[in-house]
Amino acid sequence: MAAPRLFLRTLGVKSSLTGLTGGVHGSLGFTLLKLSPGCTAKPTAQRRHAAHFTYHPDPVPTQYGPTQKMNLFQSVTSALDNILASDPTAVIFGEDVAFGGVFRCTVGLRDKYGKDRVFNTPLCEQGIVGFGIGAAAAGATAIAEIQFADYIYPAFDQIVNEAAKYRYRSGNLFDCGKLTIRSPWGCVGHGSLYHSQSPEAFFAHCPGIKIVVPRGPVQAKGLLLSCIEDKNPCIFFEPKILYRAAVEQVPTEAYHIPLSQAEVLQEGSDLTLVAWGTQVHVMREVAAMAQEKLGVSCELIDLQTILPWDTETVCKSVVKTGRLLISHEAPVTGGFAAEISSTVQEECFLNLEAPISRVCGYDTPFPHIFEPFYIPDKWKCFEAVKRMINY
């Protein structure tokens, strides 16, 4: 298993980090990136050659038949293999998908199913999605790939104005429900501005589409197959840092994991943690740390479907625990945590023991060299947990 290779450069970073733990106050009284002294930040040893999380595989699913060891990109290939076999109208297209894709998600499919079902498109995201909408409206199961989520913006108009509103504006005469867009998503350690973005919040503002982010291979295959079968256009974001890092036993047959259902991964009584994608694994560690160091029992929820999201599970959990921490890599202002936070305070106001906490990326473009400081790692989340408990 290849651990994601996240390196911090050596001396320069070390010195600035140790400078930080002392606490630096700006002249205007704002704190500049101060790590609270109580938080045992072991910067260099911890971070030098490690990812900002450890992957925790799911237990082996027994209810779907025989399983095989697969990592995330292999589980995606397996899902696509299943759908191409069972659905004769299914087609896969995108930039470089024919040889297998830049992340090897489509390896072998062209040889197996033919070049009229798995084909490359030229470099035109707007064209790819528009073409997909047309193909889906005409009855083909269209699975489009956008090579990186950062490149999805030329297709934004097609997704928001054409795909999402097709059924509505035609009074259910037409729809492009057979469209699914897959895209690698999220930080990867060295992606910098244009290979690390998490754009789910932009699309969450658009009724008519569904957005799904899996946390591992088993969820990915089940959720992807559900997205493809779902009669609405779906965007499926795959955390690219997990493509090789996440290895699990994945069923070889097709199976579906229902959309719009959040999953409670760990029951707890004091605090609810909500995250999706890679961040779920960070939160697992936070929950373990909270239990060990503070004796706090955390309930961990993987949201899975961002839109439409499972308000019931989250609210039920908050009613039980009274505290909520939401975390994602995207910038905090206008990020999806804001939506969750707002809804929860509406529904569960009297049950809240502490203000809802959002630990997210800074309001800056995704940085090139500052990435380890930008991402909401477990220390920052743990800090938030402590403050909420002591509120």
């Binding site: 704002f30 490359n120 800056t364 060299i369 500052f370 403050r387």
Partner: protein
């Protein structure tokens, strides 16, 4: 006599770098060099044009040495970047330009420093020709504060005076270039904007939108398609319905140029710049060139093309070798001189790499700087509700 020779030797070495200085004094070994020679260039294919760039050009000795030095510096710089990337001192994405040096140098030779250039992510070469020292380019690659974008941009985001980058999203820089051309036209300073994109980007919708606007308003924009035959791993035949990229402008006249010949590129650029400056509107140039490395450092470059193909281009059409052979066979430079230049460049690159590796990284406060233009420092919300960072933009 000895003194004079040292003076001349020094003056020559300095002269080779400084534009316009004439060091044609007779000295021991320099007396035999021809000061200039005339060369034939391949005729360009034309689209909607009656006349193209001239097929003969004059190259002076110091121009030749200047081009040689620039191209060789770019080549060495890219190879050094390759090395540093493999040592993991440079991380992230790194798109190398070696093999295509003639394009950047030829274009720069055909325009003025006051003209504007914008390109996509394979930008190290253009950053150099637009005047940024190698040291700063390498420091930007390693993400240090001595870098041209203060370490915050990295490989794909390098900028300089009249050089607008360095842009990550494919094709997005072309409408920007058209906009810069509009500014040139509006300000009336007789400047042009050179807007570059690749064969992959040529299929993006925004390129055609820019063509339309530029032609409609007769903007002084030179659109240049650097066709290196592969868009990442996809060959042009598999990506484009029409691989005649110089004709893709449809109503915009176009020329197709051999991008491996620096003199050809220079002549074509001069022609194109004159065309734009005379107010006739935009023009499209296709430079047929080749890159030796893969698309980026994560691409070995041999899964979609054969090693023999790369070797063939390297031996038959390498821009630096071609220029060197031309100069030596016309007695415009000596082998020793070229060797000296090579050695100097090597040293320069070594020092630059040294600087790039040892320079400190930008300070953490820079994380939030330059988001907006602020008069008073802006509060940037952090990863926690109680962490606020200052943006001192």
């Amino acid at each position: 006599m000895q003194n004079m020779l040292t003076v001349i030797a020094n003056a020559f070495k300095a002269g080779a770098k400084i534009n316009g200085s004439r060091v044609m004094v007779s000295a021991r070994s320099f007396a035999d060099f021809t000061p200039q020679a005339s060369f034939d260039i391949k005729r360009c294919d034309l689209h909607r044009l009656d006349e193209g760039p001239s097929v003969q050009t004059v190259l002076t000795r110091e121009d030749g040495l200047k081009y040689y030095r620039t191209m060789q510096t770019m080549r060495r710089m890219e190879l050094k970047a390759d090395q540093l990337y493999k040592q993991k001192i440079i991380r992230g994405f790194c798109h190398l330009y070696d093999g295509q040096e003639a394009c950047a140098v030829g274009i720069e030779a055909g325009i003025n420093p006051t003209d504007h250039v914008i390109t996509a992510y394979r930008a190290h070469g253009y950053t150099y020709t637009r005047g940024v020292p190698v040291k700063e380019i390498m420091a930007e690659l390693t993400g240090r504060r001595g870098g041209v974008a203060k370490g915050k941009g990295g490989s794909m985001h390098m900028y300089a005076t009249n050089f607008y980058g360095g842009n990550g999203i494919v094709g997005a820089q072309v409408p920007l270039g058209a906009g810069v051309a509009l500014a040139c036209q509006y300000q009336g300073k007789n400047e042009v904007c050179v807007t570059l994109y690749g064969d992959g980007a040529a299929n993006q919708g925004q390129i055609f939108e820019s063509f339309n606007m530029a032609a409609l308003w007769k903007l002084p924009c030179i659109f240049i398609c650097e066709n290196n035959k592969y868009g990442m791993g996809t060959s042009v035949e598999r990506a484009s319905a029409s691989t005649d990229y110089y004709k893709r402008g449809d109503y915009i006249p176009g020329i197709r140029v051999d991008g491996m010949d620096v003199l050809g590129v220079r002549e074509a650029t001069r022609f194109a710049a004159d065309y734009c400056r005379s107010g006739k509107g935009p023009i499209l140039m296709e430079l047929q060139t080749y890159r030796y490395h893969g698309h980026s450092m994560s691409d070995p470059g041999v899964s979609y093309r054969t090693r023999e193909e790369i070797q063939e281009v390297r031996s038959k059409s390498d821009p630096i070798s071609m220029l060197k052979d031309r100069m030596i066979s016309n007695n415009m430079a000596s082998v020793e001189e070229i060797k000296d230049i090579d050695a100097e460049i090597r040293k320069e690159i070594e020092e630059a790499a040294q600087f790039a590796t040892s320079d400190p990284e930008p300070p953490l406060e820079d994380l939030c700087n330059h988001i907006f233009y602020n008069d008073a420092p802006l509060e940037v919300r952090g990863t926690n509700p109680w962490t606020r960072l200052k943006s001192m933009s």
